[in-house]
Symmetry: C2
Subunit: 407 residues, 2 copies
């Protein structure tokens, strides 16, 4: 059997970061920038006022006070967006609004609160320091300066900075398009009757949501019955829009393992036994003319979930150039004893909490890999190492933190 680490390494080595794509700013939110963005111009591009008030020559106001205000003629109005060429001569001032370009000659702004607000002859009761309430051209960034390096994940502030230097579109790693389908002749769409050995498809919802949460754009195809020809046709039809394909079910050793049978004919998919519990039967490879990566995950919902976390999510992050590839882990104190098979890495559903300033973790639900209700109550996965067969209450364990449910 392969180890978890070996299988992950094999999967990662078979995928590349997606080719950069130019996207509009809001579409690039959450993506990784794949160009070095430099300042197109100085930031701010021109010296301007940070307050509503009056642009003055500070020397004119030396000694201004409540008892001895200085009165200056107002030679013009400078709103934000003003494109005129107003200048302030000695003994003059100009009304100016926040963001308005500083007029030639002026070296400070007097806030309107220090004045009587008159628009013809303003009375000023306080002397400004030179340069006060002035935002100087280039003080945030200089033209040509690297302001958002390649590899940066774009959040709200990064998008604002890109807009401020005039970028409407930027080159980023796009979101991987992930086609998700379940397999199994027992499956019906949720809401349809389940008489006669049927059950609703649930894995494709789980995996599509998990792919979206990992930054991908998921297309849930739903489910395909256990018919190799139909599965091949469905996958072939979807390859045109897939950067990655995920199937679940049909990968163990039985007579109805449609996925194994179908994919054996389509590409280089290898079906392996990986030394883990749950999730032992794993298939991974590439198919079709573009060598599209495909994961064939086991059909048990908990096995599919753990397999996604261990193998698919790191691959999706690699495709997006997102670091780190893995979820954060912590060491926590195990609250009750657990058994584990020798030679397999076991992933138990955990409830991670903080008590007295330290992490503690309890198991949630049973170990059965079909137990969805337990999975839905877990906030973490407890990792029992491959060679460990027993852990006692009080032992320290590594715990993988899943999305915070109330995040």
């Amino acid at each position: 059997m392969k180890t978890v680490d070996q299988h992950l390494a094999d999967c990662l080595s078979a995928v590349d970061t997606l080719s950069p794509l130019e996207l509009r700013l809001l579409d690039a939110h959450g993506c990784t920038l794949s160009e070095d963005v430099t300042a197109t111009w100085d930031l701010p591009p021109f010296t301007n006022s940070s307050m509503d008030g009056y642009a003055v020559r500070s020397a004119d106001l030396a000694g201004a006070s409540e008892s001895a205000p200085v009165v200056l003629p107002v030679v013009g109005d400078i709103p934000a967006g003003y494109s005129g060429a107003l200048a302030v001569s000695p003994g003059q001032c100009a009304r100016i609004m926040t963001g308005g370009p500083m007029p030639a000659g002026a070296d400070a702004v007097v806030p309107v609160e220090w004045t009587d607000g008159d628009i013809v002859q303003v009375s000023i009761t306080k002397a400004p320091q030179p340069n006060s309430y002035v935002r100087f051209q280039g003080e945030d960034a200089s033209q040509g300066e690297l302001i958002v390096p390649s590899g940066t994940r774009l959040g709200p502030a990064q998008l604002a900075l890109l807009a401020a230097v005039g970028r409407a579109r930027v080159l980023v790693r796009p979101r991987p398009r992930v086609v998700v389908m379940s397999t199994g002749s027992e499956l019906v769409e949720p809401g349809e009757p389940i008489a006669g050995g049927k059950i609703p498809d649930s894995n494709s919802f789980m995996l599509a949501a998990a792919a979206n949460a990992a930054g991908a754009t998921a297309y849930r195809i739903g489910f395909v019955p256990d018919e190799p020809k139909q599965l091949i046709t469905t996958i072939e039809d979807q390859l045109i829009r897939a950067d990655l394909v995920i199937t679940t079910g049909g990968v163990s050793v039985g007579a109805f393992d449609v996925v194994k049978e179908a994919l054996g004919r389509m590409g280089t998919v290898a079906f392996d036994r990986v030394a883990m519990q749950p999730g032992m039967p794993q298939g991974f490879g590439t198919i079709g003319p573009d060598s599209t990566p495909i994961f064939t995950l086991p059909g048990n919902p908990v096995s599919a979930f753990v397999s996604f976390e261990m193998f698919v999510r790191p691959v999706l992050r690699r495709m997006q150039a997102l670091e780190p590839l893995h979820r954060p882990t912590v060491r926590a104190v195990l609250q009750s004893a657990v058994q584990s098979p020798d030679g397999k890495r076991q992933f138990l559903r955990g409830d991670l909490d903080v008590e007295d300033g330290r992490y503690v973790v309890s198991t949630v639900g049973g170990p059965g890999s079909h137990l969805l209700a337990g999975l839905a109550n877990a906030n973490s996965l407890i990792v029992v190492p491959d060679e460990t067969t027993h852990l006692s209450a009080g032992d320290a364990v590594t715990v993988i933190m899943l999305e915070r449910r109330a995040g």
Copy 2:
């Protein structure tokens, strides 16, 4: 001046959680469930096999071994989704696939690996325990049991569980629809020339992205010039699709404060000075026939960002019934001295890190509220309390953790 806490309380008290809406499962991802979901049927709905193999009566196989295999006739095939009524009599077995319904009479499954895999007469080399490799009806959840309580945020595992009990749609708190616009006659669209006192709009990109990250669906309207009539018309046109409106700019005390002038006529918007830096001028109220909440944030990008974090994000989370309302905070060791105005809560852009197992935080960029490049390099906000005017290197401070940039 109002305190930050008082202004937040006023904003929160004016908004309600959005009315529940029935959404399809994948559309409900990330939303808060607003119904108690019980199991429509037992989970699993019927007793079935957890392996590909043979359904047997375990008593028939007592003593089976490599040297003394037991041979049983195979009376039928049970694939997943099988709706027949096959029964296994003493001395018989049936081939069964993972998920196939257990036939009457059988009490255990023998994995195919313990057999020669024959489909007529199978030779079995190991005796199973009773009940082994059988998933029992109802062992995950019982019909009628509460499985996903109202108030749960729906992630991948919760969606799978809802699908498994046949729910195609569920009642959730919908994503708030947030209309975002900048104001200012100096604004142009990024990519357009900035000659003549113009600058690109950046705030509306930042706030739309921040609203989306907070779970909303943001509509970026772009920017409106400093014309009250045009602003009123734009807002009125958008109210039909807005659960919340955000504007930036035009809210201080100058002659061109179009937002103040326009909204003074439209609703109950109050313009307050809040004791914080940046972000002192704040407007909040409700407008239009549906009393739609509106935030009029200051126009400086850092002021707008901090205002969003302090007031808008908690309101958006309240609308979605998401808990906790606030981002996580930590106590960290400040790396250099900072000054702060008396009587105002100051929010400094921070770079939070872990050194020797403790949190440390440095300031990033200058204090100017127009400095976007510094904001783009911050991962946190350092909170300097209202009455504190000086902090020294080594002092402990409260730090608000923003989205992890590489998350």
